[in-house]
Each structure stands twice: as structure tokens, then as C-alpha cells.
């Protein structure tokens, strides 16, 4: 059952977002200033979560690497976006591509581990 904990966490976060956001009452002008950074932070968060799950399955999970990775990735992505905005080059694309490709890599590995495990269990049940 503990495998579904992250999913429960995700749903709780979404709920808080849905009901909490209107209370903040942010004007669209302000929102349009920070929206791109928020999107990048979301991508960094997705990357870290999938990376954490993958490391956990591989048995190499370290909490300090996990948390610091999330914070640093977010800051670097936001920093790139900010600098790119200033110098007129879409540097945030670098963060989007790098994080995006890692998300897909991690997801494919997790899928592979999961399917392998299911196949192994089937074989065990079939053999017994």
C-alpha cells in the first residue's frame, strides 16, 4: 500500500492548489511576471520526483542528494530563464530540454523496472 503514498501526496498538493490559489488573489499582471519561472519549477519538481523514485527502486536513494537536487535544479532553471530574459536569448529552453529529457529517461527506467518485476512475479507464480 505504501507505493501509493506519492500519488496521495500529489492529490493533496493539487487539492491545496485548487482551493488555496483563489484565496491568494493574485492579479494577472503580477502572475504573468512569475508564470514562466513557476512552470520551470514544476518541471524541475517533476524531474526530481521521478529521479527519486528511480533511485529508490535502484536502492541508491540518498535524502540529501534528493532535496538539494530539487532546490538547485529549480534555482538554476529560474536563474537561466532570468538571465536569458535579460540578454534576449531564450536560455530557459536549455533548462526545459535538459530537464525534459531527464524526465523521459527516468520515466522509461521506472517503467522498465516495473514491467520486469511484474514479469518475474508472473514467472514465479507460474512455477509454483
Amino acid at each position: 500500500m505504501r507505493g501509493w503514498m506519492p500519488v496521495a501526496g500529489l492529490i493533496a498538493g493539487v487539492m491545496l492548489g485548487i482551493f488555496g490559489y483563489p484565496l491568494l488573489n493574485i492579479s494577472p499582471e503580477v502572475a504573468s511576471a512569475y508564470a514562466p519561472y513557476l512552470s520551470l519549477a514544476t518541471l524541475a519538481g517533476l524531474d526530481t520526483v521521478l529521479g527519486g523514485i528511480r533511485a529508490g527502486i535502484e536502492g541508491r536513494f540518498q535524502d540529501d542528494i534528493f532535496v538539494s537536487g530539487f532546490l538547485l535544479n529549480t534555482l538554476l532553471a529560474a536563474g537561466l530563464a532570468f538571465v536569458g530574459d535579460r540578454i534576449g536569448v531564450d536560455l530557459f529552453l536549455a533548462a526545459v530540454v535538459a530537464l525534459g529529457s531527464r524526465v523521459f529517461l527516468n520515466l522509461s527506467l521506472i517503467r522498465r523496472y516495473g514491467l520486469t518485476k511484474i514479469a518475474l512475479n508472473r514467472r514465479k507464480e507460474g512455477g509454483a
Binding site: R2, G9, E29, A35, P36, T48, G56
Partner: protein, 258 residues
Amino acid sequence: MNVFTANIRHQPWVWQVTSLCFVLGLLVTVSLQTVSSIRQSGAGTGRVGGPPLAMSSLSETVRKREKEISDLREKQTQLENTMAHGNDRLKTLNDELQKTKMLAGLTAVTGPGIILTLNDSARRPPSNRAFEQERYNIHDYDLQTVVNELGASGAEALSINGQRFISRTSIRCVGPTILVNAVPMTPPYSVQAIGDPITLAGALNLPGGYLDNLRQTDPGMFRLEKRALLSIPDYTGSTEVRYMRPADTEGSSRRRRR
């Protein structure tokens, strides 16, 4: 049966992934809601450094400057009136000047008239053919027709969505917007005209006229109101003149010609 069950017993990482998943869910939701609120406000898609951001702050600046121009011109009129006070000859000159400025559209004016609101049709065009679809939207030539018709029936002052129609005004189509005085606008378009309300409304409603055609497409595309009193703002654009000058009267012509 899922990915985690075999490996996760007595391991702390699930809790940490869970807490970060919570943060992730929060980020995703706030991000989505932010972008949708930006879309609703029409400020753009919220991409880094995109033109929509610059656009919204620039148009704010333009609005402020236009207000400033309007205020300054009003002040100028007041000063001219003060100057002419008590002196008959100056007063005659000033009366002429104020009348000319009113004709040129440099002063806000009030009077009876009509308001015609035009909007794109909410109905689906009956076919996909381009000429059918075109009839269900308001175009630059619709506004040109209306303004022309109103001018022909004696409208003395005209404005479209608050932009004063003067002798130098152009109405043209750029993408999904219509530029009037080089100011982009989107539907609904509110055409205000000062003149005899009955004549103006009658001219627009002539059988075979503009509104008659529009009514056959979709009567919901326009609303025509007569008003006993409406006010039309002044022209706030540039009045710079680079090429034209008064035509020379005889005698002075030779001296001025280069």
C-alpha cells in the same frame, strides 16, 4: 501489484518522494491556474520575455500619455479663452479658433446622437465556404461603411471604441484586430455619432442598407441606440504636419516658393 511494493519495505525514501510529490502537485496546480488567469485577462501566454508582457505595460504607458495630451489640449483651450476675455477682436478670433478645433476633432464634444454596437455573430456559419464565414464577423470594411453612411447623413462627430474619427483617421484590418487611428481594437465595436438621432438611425436602417444586410445574416450582431446626449472624446494622436502647408494666395506665392 505495483512498482514499489517489493522494494520499499522499511525504507525512508517513499516519505520524501511523497512530500515532494505534494510540492509538485501544488506547483502544477498553481502554474495551471496562473496561466489560465493570464489567458483570461488577455495579457498573453506568460512566456519569458514574450511580446505580450511588453505589450501590456506599453499600452498602459500609451494610455497615460494620451490622457496627458488630452489634458494639455484642454488646458490650452482654457488659456486661449482667458486670453481672449475682455478684448472683442481677440474674442472673435478665439471663437473662430475654437470652432475650427472642434471641427478638427481636438476638443471633446457632446450632443444628441446614436450608438451602434457591432459584434461578431455567435451563430455558426451555415457552410464552410469563406464568403459565408466572412459575413458572420465584423470587418474593417463594415466600420468603414458605417462611418461613411453616418457621415453622409450628417454626423458631426464620430468615434469608434473611444477613438475620435478625424480627417486623418484610417480604419484597417491587421490580423484579428482592427486599427483605428493606429490603435488596435477587438469586438464589440461601439460606433458613436453626434447628429440628428432619427436621421442617423434612419440612414443606417435604409432598406437594402448596411443594417438591413446585417439583419439578414444575424440580427444579434448589432444594437442601435438613440441618445439624447452622448459625449465623444477628443483626438489624442499626433497632430504633426510634415508635408502640407496652406495653399499660397497670389502675391505671397513667389516669395515662399523655393
